[in-house]
Amino acid sequence: MLKRYKPFLRAGAMDTLAFRFNILMWALITVCEVACLVFLWLAVYRSSVDGMDAVIHGFSFREMISYVVLTTVFGFVTFNNSTLWNINTDIKKGTVGNYLIKPISYRGKFAATSLGSLLTMTALFGLPLYAAALLVLSGLGFLPDLAFPGFFAHLGLFLLSGLCASLLNDTISYVFGVLCFYTSSGWGLNSLKETLISFLSGTLLPLAFFPAGLRDVLSWMPFAGMSQDPVLILMMKYDLATSLRCVAVSAAWIVALELFAKGLFSRAVRKVTVQGG
């Protein structure tokens, strides 16, 4: 059955490679962004009581810089699906019908495309960028000694949690995409999704900086697993038990969200009104 989705896996990989200019622009913008964040945190730590040696909410200055660099790379490699936009286009142009009459599941098509894109991004950019970042950061003494062989377990869990993060992102995109069946417009939904994820996943600010109650709630939500947790696993800020728990929470959310998406789609598809023709 899965063989039917091979062309979409391939298409996801090919699309990723087709946009070289985008990747170049992203690299340029990101370097500037990371530089801004470094100066921002520099100012924060300098003005704190303990100065540059301060540990704020469990993060030393050096760990914070490592966190900023790694979440940025992680976001680039992991979140590059266009599921929501593609569903939106399918609905607006009426091309959703083309897939409804084929013996494949609409969800499976997008999952395969995103997976293809993730694999390409990881192989081409992820692995070299992670390796470079880790070597430079630990060379500068920004990361604790990457003590082998313990590090390999973390690296393995990191890659696994990266896969989970990508799937979570794709499932959430899909759910928001299916909501376009009701709103007929994806713009607002996309903004909502992007804001929710960047705020609640700890990309903007580690969740340790949030109030205690909210932090507890968020540690059981799917968002932390999409950015903060994988990076902290890689930085070995989490011990193995915590890392495993994070991956388990993500996996459980993937199952729950997929089931929800399935139910939502089978309701939404009844609303399909392919316009014209």
Binding site: N98, I101, G277
Partner: protein, 334 residues
């Protein structure tokens, strides 16, 4: 086999006020208009039949097709394709049907045509041998081999439509739904498309449901016609009896000497209508009531015809008459 039972589709359309104040009002209160696009229709199509599904624009043809192939879910009633409801078991039914919407392509726009076919080969899990055989068959009947390596966006409309047809037949579906497959095609392409549909039907026994506004398509292909108007079936039966609905109507067009005029010509019978078109006399009559032989004799003897053309009433004329009658009845009830 396709079984359609009391099939109904109601669309709800928000009523929008006009102007700015109207738009603001619609933001807060929504009123809906109900449109019964398909209204309680039933019919059965046995295996191997070619059915013409015709009617005016907006009669509900496309909506029915979309329900039969599983894109739309009926408001009430049911469709069964070989016993399975397509909107419930979408993927299972999709493997056995092929669909072409004349106004939209299902091919991938930017990649060479042959790559689109390869994608479909994987989606439908077609074996290498079947794929090769099917491509040879379709390449011949639809003449698509020449432009297989071109991206779809560079194809002409006729080429694209043939490619779309080939794509829908690649997995050898038991049932083919064609929604206006000849729209915008020139006569040669239309001819090719009709031949392909015939060839497929003969070779594989494929059932075909086809909507069209081209009556030549219907006369060429369909043994049975379903005529739809305002979501309801007006006629369902063989092409022949539709033609004879208003009797065995015939038209004789005569070239006659200049002094013979429609108004002054000697009459044969009140059953015979005489008019003038482009300087020729046109006689219309029901051959079941007024024997053709008698009219021909009359034409030669009384009207001194020098040349004559005999034509049967066309399906187009019949459909036009039926729709006009409906319109008139509708106007009367209002």
């Amino acid at each position: 086999m396709i079984e359609v039972q009391d099939l109904t589709k109601v669309f709800r359309k928000p009523v929008r006020g006009s102007g700015l104040s109207g738009m603001v009002k619609t933001l807060f209160s929504r009123k809906y208009d109900e449109i019964r696009a398909v209204d309680g229709i039933s019919f059965t199509v046995p295996d191997g039949e070619i059915v013409g599904y015709i009617g005016a624009n907006g009669a509900g043809k496309s909506t029915t097709i979309k329900m039969m192939c599983g894109i739309l879910t009926p408001t009430s009633g049911s469709v069964r394709i070989d016993g399975v409801e397509p909107y419930r078991k979408r993927r299972q039914v999709a493997q056995n049907i092929g669909v072409v919407f004349g106004q939209k392509t299902q091919l991938w726009w930017d990649i060479p045509l042959v790559e689109s076919f390869k994608v479909l080969k994987e989606i439908y899990q077609i074996s290498d041998a079947d794929y090769a055989g099917r491509m040879a068959f379709l390449g011949e009947v639809l003449d698509i081999t020449r432009f297989l390596s071109q991206p779809v966006r560079t194809l002409s409309l006729g080429e694209r439509m043939r490619a779309d047809l080939a794509a829908s037949m690649l997995h050898n579906p038991r049932i083919l739904f064609l929604d206006e497959p000849t729209i915008g095609m020139d006569v040669l392409v239309k001819e090719k498309i009709r031949q392909a549909i015939h060839a497929l039907n003969r070779t594989y026994g494929t059932t075909v449901v086809l909507t069209t506004h081209d009556m030549t398509d219907i006369e060429d292909l369909c043994s049975r016609i379903i005529l739809l108007e305002k979501g309801a079936i007006l006629y369902d039966g063989p092409l022949k009896s539709l033609k004879n609905r208003f009797g065995n109507l015939k038209t004789l067009t005569l070239t006659v000497p200049a002094e013979i005029r429609a108004e002054t010509a000697p009459r044969l019978s009140p059953e015979l209508a005489i008019s003038e078109e482009d300087g020729r006399l046109v006689l219309r009559f029901d051959a079941d009531r007024l024997p053709l032989e008698q009219v021909i004799q009359y034409a030669f003897r009384e009207l001194r015809a020098m040349d004559m053309k005999i034509a049967e009433i066309s399906v187009g004329d019949v459909v036009k008459t039926i729709l006009e009658q409906q319109e008139a009845e509708h106007a009367e009830t209002i």
